[in-house]
Symmetry: C2
Subunit: 315 residues, 2 copies
C-alpha cells in the first residue's frame, strides 16, 4: 500500500507492506484522513507515535470501508463505512484499528467530512462534556474557534444549549465561524476579557490566554486546555482560581490507552453521531487533497488561517 | 456578649450586642472556636467577611451548645452540641448560624477539638473527595501536612484507603505527622518529586510547589490548591498538564453561599463524623487559649511551625 511517510522531517508518499488485522482489529480501506497539529509536531520530530502504532506514517484519524476483519472482531462487516481516531498511520491506503475504537459513519456524512471528523469532534466532545461538564444555559468561550477542534466545539456548544462566544484571530474567518450555528458571538481574542464571565473556556491557543481565561472565569468555571500552539508555560494566579472555585484541565487524546479511546468512541456514538445523522453538525473542510499530494496538504495546514479541516483523500 | 474584635489591624476582646437568631437560624453559646489563616488575613485587612457576617468579629468555625432557636429552625433543640463553619463571627461568646450549616458534635469529641474541627475537616474533605475524587489505592501527597487542614487531610486519606505521603517543612513536626495514622510517609518538601507519581496532590503551600506537583502527577491526576501562603503566582507547564490528562482545582470555603456550605455540612455528617464517632479521626490541638487572651492566640498562630490547631475556648 501507499502511505504518507515521514522522511527527514518531511512527508512523502512511499510504498509499505499491507497491514494485517489481528485479534479484535479491522482493516480499513481509507477514503479520507484529516491532518491535525499533532501530525505536524510528529513530522518535526517532537511527538513520536505511541507504542503499537506505525512510527513513520502520520495520521490520527481516518474514514473508509472495512476491507478485512481480524479474529474475534464482530462489530463490523466488510464494506461497512467506519471512522476512527488512531494513534498514527491514518494517512495511508490501508490502516488497522481495533473495532472498539471505530464508529459507523452516518449515511449523511460524505467521505471527506468523515475523514476529518473523529479527532476533532472526539477531542471537543471529551473536553467540553466528559471533562468540563458543559451544561445548557452556560456560557462557553472557545479560544481559537476557526480551526478543526474549534469549529467542532462551537457547534457542539450550540447544540447543547450553551451560549457560545468564539474568539478568532483572523478577521477573514469570523463570518464563517458565525455561520456555524444559531447565535454565536464571534470576537477578537483581545476582547475575551470584556465578554465574560464564562462557565467553560476551551483553550486551543495556550499559555498567552490563561491570565484572561482565569480573570473572566465564572464561579465554578472550568478551563479545558487542549492546544498550546501559542505557548505552554502559563502564569496562573492561584488566588483567582481559588476565588472562582475553578479548575483547569489538560488533555490529549492520542496517548490514551485502548479502553479510554473506546470509551470516547462510545460517547461519540451516543451523543454526537445522532446530531450528524440529524444534519445538525458538519465538518468544514477547507482543503481536500489527494494522498499523492500529501506534502502539499502539510504545507497548506502549516500556513495557518484555516477554516476547518485539511483532509487527504484516496483516489 | 464579649467577642474577639478587629481594631486597627489587631485583635482585642470587646463587648457587643447579643446576636439574635432569625428565620432558620440557631444561636450558639460558643465553647471553642479555631483560628485559621483566613482570620489572620482578615485582621490584616486583606480578606473582608462576606456579606451578612459580622465584619469586625473574626472566626470561621465554632462549637458550642444551642442557646436559642429562631423561627422555623427545627434541626436542633436548646442544649444540643453543635459545630459549624461560619463566614465570620465565631470567636465570640455567642454566634448565630443557619441550622443547615450546623452539624452535631459526636459525643466522643471534646469541645476544644470540636471548635477546631469544622473548617479544616470540611475543607480537606471537600478538596480530597468532592473535588479531587480521591479513591482507595490512590497515592495522595499532602504539601504542608503539619497544619490544621494538613493533619485533617492526612487522616482522611488514610481512612479512605489511600497511600499517603506528607511533606512537612519543620523537622520537629515530622514525627507528630507520622503518628497521625497507619502508614504515613513523611518527607521533606524538597523530596516530593522523588516520591511520586501522585494521583492527588493537596497543595496547602501554593505557587512554589506547582512545578513539582505537575511533574510528579500521575496520569489522570488532580492537584487541589487550598492554600497559597507560599505565593499565588504559579508557573504551570500546560504541556505537562495535557500529557498527564490532569487537572488543577482551586477552592475556598468561606465565600460559598448557604446551599454550598450546607451541602458540605451534609457530606461531613455522612462521611466524616461517623469516623470521629468511631475514634478513627482526631483534631490535634497545639494550643487552647481563653477567649480573653485572643491576642496571644493570634500571636501563637502567626508564629507558625504548629502541629494542628490553635483554638480559643470560652470560660
Amino acid at each position: 500500500m501507499r502511505a504518507a511517510t515521514i522522511v527527514d522531517r518531511r512527508v512523502e508518499v512511499r510504498e509499505h507492506p499491507d497491514p494485517q488485522p489481528s485479534h479484535g482489529q479491522i482493516r480499513v480501506r481509507v477514503r479520507a484522513a484529516g491532518l491535525n497539529a499533532a501530525d505536524l509536531m510528529q513530522v518535526e520530530g517532537h511527538y513520536p507515535a505511541p507504542p503499537g502504532w506505525p512510527p513513520d506514517i502520520p495520521g490520527m484519524e481516518l474514514a473508509g470501508e472495512v476491507d478485512a476483519v481480524g479474529p474475534a472482531a464482530t462489530r463490523f462487516a466488510v464494506g461497512d463505512r467506519i471512522m476512527a481516531v488512531v494513534g498514527g498511520g491514518g494517512q495511508a491506503e490501508l490502516a488497522v484499528v481495533h473495532e472498539r475504537e471505530a464508529m459507523p459513519v452516518p449515511d449523511q456524512v460524505p467521505w471527506e467530512e468523515a475523514g476529518g471528523l473523529p479527532e476533532v469532534f472526539t477531542t471537543a466532545h471529551d473536553a467540553l462534556f466528559t471533562q468540563a461538564a458543559l451544561s445548557p444555559g452556560e456560557h462557553l468561550l472557545v479560544n481559537g474557534a476557526a480551526g478543526g477542534v474549534g469549529t467542532a466545539a462551537v457547534q457542539l456548544g450550540v447544540t447543547a444549549g450553551a451560549r457560545v462566544t468564539a474568539s478568532v484571530r483572523s478577521v477573514e474567518r469570523r463570518l464563517e465561524v458565525a455561520a456555524l450555528g444559531g447565535d454565536i458571538q464571534v470576537i477578537d481574542p483581545g476582547d475575551a476579557g470584556a465578554h465574560g464571565p464564562y462557565n467553560v473556556v476551551l483553550e486551543l491557543v495556550g499559555a498567552p490566554n490563561l491570565p484572561t481565561d482565569l480573570a473572566a472565569l465564572a464561579t465554578g468555571g472550568r478551563i479545558s486546555v487542549i492546544g498550546t500552539g501559542g505557548g505552554s508555560r502559563a502564569e496562573v494566579n492561584l488566588g483567582l482560581l481559588m476565588r472562582a472555585r475553578g479548575r483547569i484541565h489538560g488533555s490529549t487524546l492520542r496517548a490514551r490507552p485502548l479502553e479510554a479511546k473506546a470509551a470516547a468512541a462510545r460517547a461519540m456514538e451516543a451523543h454526537v453521531l445522532p446530531l450528524f445523522a440529524a444534519g445538525r453538525l458538519r465538518v468544514p473542510v477547507c482543503a481536500a487533497v489527494p494522498l499523492d499530494d500529501a506534502a502539499a496538504a502539510y504545507e497548506r495546514f502549516a500556513a495557518g488561517s484555516k477554516f476547518g479541516k485539511v483532509v487527504l483523500v484516496a483516489g
